[in-house]
């Protein structure tokens, strides 16, 4: 019964996201990639090269922060020994992040300092991924009855600047931890395998490069997964308009529902988990280098 209900619910949610594309039918072409353009809602004058305008992405970041803060305050205000629903749910998440992320990646000496960072990272990315699959009225380009923005998808994590910022924090944190626990010389020496001779000419640049490639791999993994997931669902739906035949819906809507569920259940959770776990592994291996 609950399974059938959740299927119905997700289908209904998807149907809610339809008008954004359906309204574009009056235009000769529709382009799902336009959903990822960020036009400023509230313009703030530029500070040098930095544009601080409030856009759709900033709105999603604020929303996820608000959900996390309010949720945390609600749980902490009425703590029970025998937890009820919300508290039990939060305890499951805490337990998961402790056993699967914290204990699995951090050595004991850095655990107490860096587990809160990893748990925050996990929760923040997870909530962002979760709310990104809710159709919210954020598409300001098309308006319902001229006033209400049409419901649409957007993920703050499908923006490279968000994921790169999170990655940079991890990058600097891992080097800080490495230098703090090993000292400058031994830490940078630990980057390289203990070999001598001419092979170093090959290995040294490669190892330095691999440290910086972490920045790319960690940020692009999350960003591209979320971008591709959203684009896939939007593309399936807007295929109806691109081809221009209503009967395409019979094929494309079930496919869209399938990918929506797949992204929501598997990819959104997995990417949040992987990001936090890899951050933990980078920090953990910097604190205790193996060679």
């Amino acid at each position: 019964m609950t399974r059938r209900l959740s299927w119905l619910l997700s289908t209904a949610l998807l149907a809610l996201a339809l008008p954004a594309q359906a309204l574009a039918a009056s235009a000769p072409k529709t382009d799902p990639t336009k959903e990822f353009l960020l036009d400023p809602w509230i313009k703030i004058p530029k500070l040098g090269p930095i544009d601080l305008s409030i856009t759709k992405g900033v709105f999603y970041l604020f929303l996820s922060t608000a959900i996390l803060l309010i949720g945390a305050l609600l749980v902490v205000r009425h703590l029970r020994l025998h937890p009820k629903r919300l508290q039990a749910f939060v305890e499951i998440i805490y337990d998961f992040s402790e056993t699967q992320i914290g204990r699995a990646s951090l050595p004991a000496k850095t655990y107490t300092t860096w587990f809160p960072y990893l748990a925050t990272l996990f929760l923040f990315i997870w909530i962002n991924n979760m709310i990104s699959y809710l159709p919210l009225p954020v598409d300001t380009e098309h308006k319902l009855w001229g006033v209400i923005p049409t419901p649409s998808f957007y993920a703050a994590t499908s923006n490279i600047s968000v994921t790169l910022a999170l990655t940079l924090i991890t990058f600097f944190a891992s080097h800080y931890v490495g230098i703090k626990h090993n000292g400058v010389g031994p830490y940078f020496k630990s980057w390289f395998p203990p070999v001598s001779g001419a092979i170093n000419i090959l290995i040294v640049p490669l190892e330095i490069l691999s440290q910086f490639l972490r920045l790319v791999s960690l940020s692009v993994r999350l960003f591209a997964n979320m971008l591709a997931g959203h684009l896939l669902v939007l593309m399936c739906v807007s295929l109806i308009i691109i081809i221009g035949n209503v009967f395409v819906a019979a094929a494309s809507i079930p496919v869209a529902v399938f990918f929506y569920c797949f992204e929501l259940v598997l990819v959104a959770n997995l990417q949040a988990f992987i990001f936090a776990l890899l951050s933990g592994i980078y920090i953990g291996t910097a604190a205790e280098p193996h060679h």
């Binding site: 699967q100 692009v220 997964n225 591709a228 988990f273």
Partner: protein, 82 residues
Amino acid sequence: MPLSGNVNDAAKDLALGLGTGFGAIGPGVGVGYLIGKTIEGVSRQPEMRGELQGLMFLGLALTEAITFYALLMSFVAFFIGK
């Protein structure tokens, strides 16, 4: 039917399609291999299921990401390419 249009646009479309398609081959093989090996491992030692599953998901995300590097580069070619 005679072909008309911009060669640049055609090349960009080809870059997007071919880049994404060819980029998906390797990770596809990798993901299949990974999950197959996990099933093999679980059928040999069913009590290791939980541990293997965790490792599998880690490997899955690492392998799958390669598809997205290809996708990203194809997008770069499509949207920013000259």
